[in-house]
């Protein structure tokens, strides 16, 4: 800074000048500040690298030829660059059909889930009714109980499902049922679970949405009621528009978890080819394809699995890139509390 300017502005001095006046405090403070931020940057870079590394490894493996795997001089950059792996895997897991199926299954179930969970969460947040606390304890119970506990009986329940004679009273009298249908396989069973707030992690979404609606000031609705707005209309026109960021984030979570889930999908979607169905069996698929009895080399099978995983999560990664705010920010601003 020039001398003339310094005199003109009066208070503006050079950094060292100010440091001298503060008896070295300024220097110490800025050293501390800088060292903290350098330390933080190194740490965060390391952790980020740690998290992304498996993804990068998969990416590099997926472009290699098989002989690159056995070459010990190659670690992560393929020497024989190829896109054959993608073509082969896409064929093995029927990528096109599976992608379309996964997309509509996840979208539909997430939609049903979000509708039901929003309703339920709103009901818990705003109204007082008998057994409310007990019912909410039940929501907590659905979060805590591993789905595997009730899986076997739920499976049988849907295998011999009865729309008309729901609790089996008719069957008990006559000893036989006419209206029984098997809901396993086509996914109807799962959509029923989603619509009643019982699907994958529904309890968590109910909890999150209830927390959210509890934080919304009641005056909003009261004003609407005074103006003669009905309960449902108030909910749709006043509450929902404000809740959009929260709903988006719940929707995104539910979509992503549904997409990669294979617990419910192996149980309830047997007749529908989904992306996660064949991922685990790619080596066996390779064996079938080769037509011989010698199984493919482990490394080769795993290379294909890695490629398959990449194309499975590719749509999710693209979604995450664009909707990253929806995942993170809205949720961290809700203030989840017990």
């Amino acid at each position: 800074m020039s001398k003339a300017k310094q005199i003109k502005l009066g208070t503006q001095m050079s950094y060292w000048e100010r440091n001298r006046l503060s008896h070295g405090y300024l220097l110490r403070k800025s050293i501390r500040k800088w060292s903290i931020s350098i330390f933080r940057a190194v740490l965060l870079f390391g952790l980020c690298f740690l998290i992304v590394q498996p993804l990068l490894n998969k990416l590099s493996v997926s472009f290699m030829e098989e002989r690159d795997l056995y070459d010990s001089t190659i670690i992560s950059i393929p020497r024989h660059f190829t896109t054959e792996n993608y073509k082969l895997v896409a064929e093995l897991i029927q990528y096109k059909t599976a992608l379309i199926n996964t997309a509509w299954v996840s979208l539909l179930s997430s939609f049903l889930q979000i509708v039901s969970c929003t309703m339920i969460g709103y009901g818990f947040a705003r109204y007082k009714f008998p057994f409310k606390n007990f019912l909410f304890a039940c929501v907590m119970l659905t979060i805590i109980i591993p789905p595997q506990t009730i899986m076997s009986s739920l499976y049988l329940h849907f295998q011999f499902f009865d729309f008309v004679d729901f609790f089996g009273i008719f069957k008990m009298i006559t000893g036989k049922s006419i209206t029984q249908v098997s809901l396993i396989g086509n996914g109807v069973a799962y959509f029923m679970l989603a619509a009643t707030g019982m699907a994958l992690r529904s309890g968590l979404y109910i909890f999150m949405l209830r927390q959210y609606f509890r934080g919304v000031p009641k005056e909003l609705e009261e004003a609407a009621y005074v103006d003669g707005c009905g309960k449902i209309r108030t909910f749709i026109q006043i509450m929902l528009p404000d809740a959009r960021p929260m709903l988006t984030s719940v929707f995104l979570f539910s979509l992503v978890w549904q997409w990669t889930d294979n617990f419910y999908s192996t149980l309830f979607f047997r007749k529908i080819t989904l992306l996660t169905d064949n991922l685990g069996t790619i080596p066996e698929k390779l064996l079938q394809r080769s037509g011989t009895n010698t199984p493919p080399a482990t490394a080769y099978g795993q290379m294909m699995t890695a490629t398959g995983m990449l194309i499975t999560i590719a749509p999710l990664l693209i979604l995450y890139m664009f909707a990253q705010k929806g995942f993170v920010e809205s949720l961290s601003q809700t203030g989840i509390k017990m």
Partner: protein
Amino acid sequence: MAENNATPEITRAVNAPKSKRRGSSMAKRNAIAGILWTLPFTIGFIAFMLVPMFESAQMAFSNVTIDIQNHSYVKEWAGLKNFDYILNVDPMYKRQLLESLGNMGLQIVAVLIFSYFVAFLLNQEFKGRAFVRAMFFLPVILSSGILLNLDTNNSLVNSISTLIKESNNAASRVTGVLEDILASGNSQMSDLMQTIFDLVNSVYDIAIASGIQIIIFLSGLQTIPASMYEASKMEGCTGWESFWKITFPMTSSLIIVNVVYSIIDFCTRSDNVVMSQVKAQMLQKMDYGLTSAMAWMYFACIGVIVGLVTFIISKWVYYYE
């Protein structure tokens, strides 16, 4: 809720000043509305949770056989036979159960510390924060469902990670020497050190298991009013002190949330040995009685642990009203 009804009640009172019964009917109507809003859950809970739970509890105590002609299944009371089998005959189950619970304890402590630390870092102001946050929540996608399971089994990708780790020679030599010195002292101390080193080595597993926990802690950190820190600074509080006197107590209630979430997440994720064992048994052997017993046993253990941990932690949690 009483305050909620206040205004509509007043309007109604203006319209019909004489009827006193209106107030109670408003509460009643609200109660009905509440029941209707939550009706889907009530139906779902009874039909798809309570009934199957009851049945599966029954199955755990019986032999189940499938009757294909009659489109149904037969339960035959067998008492504690299934539990006796899994605890005394099955060579795998008991070992897997204990191992899984032990791992869970260690991992949850590590996840809690890690996620708290990361949340604290991500709550500070710095350049590129949005990007770093996005990176840390990537595991929510990358490690969900089947992907986690496949990842742990994929030795090819894992071996590349080891290669990369080893190529960082200088760093690994330093930690190697450190590990040798610390882990080879007197036995108790070295056991502890070995456990800690194992945890540090599995930092990737911990990082990918703590996506949601970071979000929860972060949300807690963001709700602490800045005025508290200002006041403490005026009183001459150092950063370290204000962490333990303000930040930690204000977020302590979230520790329960996170512990419970971590336990549940650990138990229900797809690479859990006990759960995958249960599923494999069900789909292969079709022995529904046995699998129900296995699942119930596991659930009982988890229920007890969740209850105990919540009880213990809630003793010293601080609630700021």
